[in-house]
Symmetry: C4
Subunit: 250 residues, 4 copies
């Protein structure tokens, strides 16, 4: 599933989280207190999302179906799918700790952010050490992605020590939206959904254009995050009477 | 506009900001309070500067005139100009947030510094991933520039957490002046205004000299920043009576 | 001793520390106060472990037996063993400072963590600058190890400033367990104990699989650390009466 | 002066500072207050040392004698000497700020440490971008040196924010001693004082040995710093009556 559908799935996954956070965090500061029970229930849904991601990577028609080593050809099978499964596994671990942090277990404050940071660093190092088989454009696209991944990972790491810091949450949210939209872009560049080959891997102009394009995506991600903050503010302040309903929604 | 004029324009742009800050910050600490309305109006001028920068990159005679892809030759057009346009765009975003931070919108404190940091990191990564077409001296000059850019970006990032820290502001100001004067140097080295080819791209002596030269620029930038601080101090303390006029000027 | 036994010894060494810490730190927070005399005595045992490590690297049958330069062949002898001896030497220094920090000498608080950090950075840089003789898989395995080493070193460095931070101790413990289990993995991959050659150094599938495998080790290390914390909690809370005995054990 | 004498001079320079600090900082904490006038006078001596360094690099028999460009051969002259002159220049600037920080000028606290950090980063980047003309061992020796330089630079940078932190001062002192002794080692390896060629630049064993050797130097530097601290403690506590004389000496 290194095709368009795989990248679209990953992009959607990160966009859901990024856009969800871009509404959740402003509301948190406006209402000062979110319903903890409700929150834990929402986090259970996140874990389901991670599990779905893992299952999708494994059991799509051209996936590995849990087979890792082929005895016939003496070679590893579908390692790219396994790699994304590993990525979802770590996000899943971080999700479990997130749920437990609402339980009466009294986890150390900040452990949820640490695990999120570990998940993002894991994702980043998996892309770093990935073997791109001399497909230079592929490598370039994922190198740009690393900026978003490690940026987000450093934000989450700093949140371990500076908890509930609005700016860090804003920053991390924008990096998640960037990651999501860039996965879609990768899909369109490497394997367009309307068929045909991907972009020319040797044209240096493509490299320079995509570098710029990545930062346009980021400008858009910043605007979306800012717009959602403003929207949340307007919603809460302007329509205080139906705020109870909203608190349950996120 | 990768010629002398372009580099001179960029250099002037950064010098204006650096020199402006080198006077503004000492005054801030001496007077303890700057006129907020006035400040917002000054920031509007900054945004105009960014817009002018963008327009200049686009509409100079040999610029792209907003055209990005040439259907005739199936290739990207004037990507270097587009790249600098992107750079000005991010500085423009940071300028808008700067203006908004003086408005009654109650932005999170530090968001203006974060956006400045994002703008500088964007500029840095654009230079990192730029394709220098095997012109080693060009790449060397921009690698040195990266020290100033990422140095300034880290300063701005730390100011998000340590707001109004004199040392960080001093440091950031000196990096901006360095960037400005180095853009001028790049212009003189690669495309001298008196015509003729640039410096020899293969002479290793040029590389070693320019490395040293970069740090001489930095020594000069430090001295200029220090001199302006001393000058501001002398101006305020020695001529307290016309301080009101000065406060309006910056 | 770059064979299986050497890697197994190093792996066991790090596992002992990692697993020991994974029980010691939760107990510290549950009991609030560890017996200082007892602690110093335990640290003496650690120093013995480091000395044993050094002696093992030097005096195994194919070791250098303290000889560094061979006058006969005009060449350095068994540098890999000497390198690991250097590694144990720095861990030994950190152990000595650990013991002294319980003495009445009034060392600066945090010096023990700093020396631990120095030991880990030393280990990391020794692997960085090691010459792998074109054995790419060997280098890949040790590059992955560097993530665990430098991760742990940064944790220890931050503990100098943020002493007794639960999250940092948890993180550092998990990195030590990871290092231990990965040394075992390196042993199995490069020189399997059942004889025969190591894995194919040219198959790119091996590289991608081992990258993933490293992060599975880390997921396991996180689970082990978490399980030991839970176990310690259950032991202390459920069986408060025999807690005195436990305090002496660690 | 890239010969033995130059490296010995640089080594001695850093050793004087490192060993001086290794006695000064413990005394500072034992006596709580150093004579400010005296301190400024000591710092003047430091500036003289920097000037001597600059003059030595310029006016040794085979130095550039302030000539930078040779009109005859159309090439840069003696750039290595100029590079070290630049290094001493920045240490000189940091020395001047150090003196001024004892003056009634009310400099921002921490500016002296910032300038020291800038001087070390400058030194580091000068070595980074230096062209080693395919002499791999030369480059390897200076790469190792970078660990000491950037380590010290980061320490000084952190001291801007965490002033008078014993651990950071201890750490920085040890890095200066390491730098000093390593410059001597570089001299012995590349151009032995007893004549003859330097070590074999192609033998991989030399690379591995020197990597280890660097960390043995560091272990020695740590021991010397610790011993001087203990000696200072013993001197002050055991011989309190002649402490006044000592305070004037450092």
């Amino acid at each position: 599933m290194s095709s368009f559908k795989g990248n679209a799935l990953r992009g959607t996954f990160f966009l859901i989280f990024g856009l969800g956070w871009s509404v959740k965090y402003p509301l948190k500061y406006l209402s000062r207190k979110l319903n903890a029970d409700n929150q834990a229930r929402k986090n259970m849904i996140c874990i389901c999302l991670y599990c779905l991601g893992m299952l999708a990577e494994q059991f799509v028609p051209d996936g590995p179906h849990m087979g890792l080593y082929s005895g016939g050809t003496y070679s590893w099978e579908k390692l790219t799918n396994w790699q994304y499964t590993t990525m979802y596994l770590f996000y899943g671990l971080s999700g479990i700790v997130d749920v437990l942090s609402y339980s009466p277990l009294k986890l150390s404050l900040g452990l949820d952010r640490l695990l999120l940071s570990v998940a993002m660093f894991t994702e980043g190092f998996l892309f770093c050490f990935h073997d791109y088989n001399n497909t230079a454009l592929d490598q370039h696209l994922h190198s740009l992605l690393l900026i978003a991944i490690f940026g987000g990972a450093l934000c989450a790491l700093m949140e371990v020590f500076l908890r509930d810091h609005t700016i860090l949450e804003f920053f991390r949210t924008s990096f998640f939206i960037l990651q999501g939209s860039w996965f879609w872009q990768i899909g369109f560049v490497l394997s367009p959904p309307w068929g045909g080959p991907g972009w020319d891997q040797t044209d240096r102009g493509n490299f320079n254009f995509l570098t710029m394009c990545f930062f346009w995506h980021y400008a858009a991600a910043l605007l979306v995050t800012a717009a959602n903050s403003v929207f949340s503010y307007w919603y809460v302040v302007g329509q205080g009477n139906n705020f109870g309903a909203l608190k349950n929604a996120f």
